[in-house]
Amino acid sequence: MSRFEVKELCYGGFGPVSFALQTGERIGVTGPSGCGKTRLLRALADLDAWEGQIRLDGQAPQAVAASAWRRRVAYLPAESQWWHDVVGAHFAAAPAAEDLDALGLDAAVLAWPVARLSSGEKQRLGLLRTLANRPAVLLLDEPTAHLDAARALAFEALVADRGARDGMMAVWVAHDPEQLRRVAARGYRMAAGGVWGEVASWA
């Protein structure tokens, strides 16, 4: 069993935020633009300064190197960046063919130049690139904003599959209540200023 626990987390003037995740569990987070959702994910990945308590299986981020923490608690930014010329150069090991297929990506996509990728392809490849680190917690920031409905469902299914298969937990930030209802058992709403509260149902 693994457990991701956040208590009284404050970051950049937002918070306090508290929640806990068990093996394979996902929570949704929603709220108006600028309320601190992205900053929350960045703080959880230790990319921004924060105060309070974060624990993964009882371990605090400070107990390990920042780079090691970010492999375990992995932030998937809304806009993924691609700095090499060829797609495949961004992957230490090529993603499994069935994962490419599950996301509707061309089997030859790794050999493509980055310039050929659409925003939607970048989002799906960004997910595979982050999953390659086999994170314990995945932090998703509006991950399907550039995907059509069918592709978004495939994306959600792959994340759910990792939850069932590897016990991967997830914090899913999105605006769409329909999607949050599908991907997360529980949810939180942030009001302006980062005021944090559990929601009874996605409205």
Binding site: L47, A66, S67, R70, P77, Q81, W83
Partner: protein, 267 residues
């Protein structure tokens, strides 16, 4: 045999073509004449001052005077490095990095040359120490200024890429490794180019000066070779060191990119 001395009247005459050029610029409405005349005036005043000070320092050779002159050059070099940055570290970090790079690389290389190569006695003789240090510091300064500016500017522009790399579990060093290499290359380009064309396309000023003052061309050439090697290593080690330290300042202890430490320089 000494050099044929120029009188102050000769200097005035040598400025005549420049005055004609300023007239031509004004006629073409290039808006350059004023800046050029001010620059020419600065050249006159600055060099005259340096000439008088050096004359005094040479006549009263003393390690303290050599040291003072060296520190003034270090200060001017630091100021110039800082002035050439588009973004500077808050809290004087840029000045600290510049002093450290210039001092460590420039002074080490100069002292090495004075002790091991020139072998003048005493080793701090201003006639050798000051021109050598000046040439080495000048080139180290250019390298450090270019390297730091390239690194901070490219980190600023590539913030999203660096943070995405960090999010994927790269260390701070890995996430900017390519930017650091690019910065060192940029810092070293001028000096590598001048090594390549030295003597073919350009006759370096120091060598020209020695030849004009009657030195044997072969002796002058050997000095110039030494200088070229020294300024290349000064600029190289100076920029390697500064770029390394500058890159680590872009991150905090938790390997977070801290571009908030960089302030845009006022225009």
């Amino acid at each position: 045999m000494g050099v044929i001395a120029l009188s102050w009247l000769d200097i005035l005459l040598s400025a005549l073509p420049l005055a004609a050029l300023a007239g031509a610029f004004a006629w073409q409405r290039l808006g350059l004449g004023r800046a050029m005349l001010i620059g020419a005036a600065r050249t006159f005043v600055q060099l005259a001052l340096v000439g008088f000070v050096l004359k005094g320092v040479f006549q009263n050779a003393h390690p303290v005077w050599t040291l003072c002159f060296s520190l003034v050059m270090l200060g001017m070099g630091t100021w110039e490095v800082s002035r050439r940055q588009h973004r500077r570290f808050a809290g004087g970090g840029t000045v600290g990095l510049a002093v450290l790079g210039l001092f460590t690389a420039g002074f080490t290389v100069t002292v090495f040359a004075l002790l091991a190569l020139v072998g003048v006695s005493p080793w701090w003789s201003p006639q050798y120490a000051i021109p050598l240090l000046g040439m080495i510091l000048g080139n180290t300064m250019t390298g450090i200024a270019l390297g730091m500016d390239t690194l901070t500017q490219s980190a600023w522009k590539q913030r999203a890429v660096i943070e995405n790399r960090l999010a994927l579990g790269e260390t701070a060093g890995e996430s900017v490794a390519e930017l650091k290499r690019e910065s060192v290359r940029t810092a070293m380009t001028p000096i590598v180019n001048s090594l390549a064309v030295c003597g073919v396309v350009s006759l370096p000023g120091m060598m020209t000066g020695q030849i004009l003052s009657g030195s044997d061309p072969l002796a002058a050439v050997r000095y110039q070779m030494m200088i070229m090697y020294l300024i290349a290593s000064g600029a190289g080690f100076g920029s390697l060191l500064t770029i390394q330290l500058c890159a680590s300042r872009l991150f905090d202890g938790r390997e977070r990119l801290r571009l908030d430490r960089l302030l845009e320089a006022p225009k």
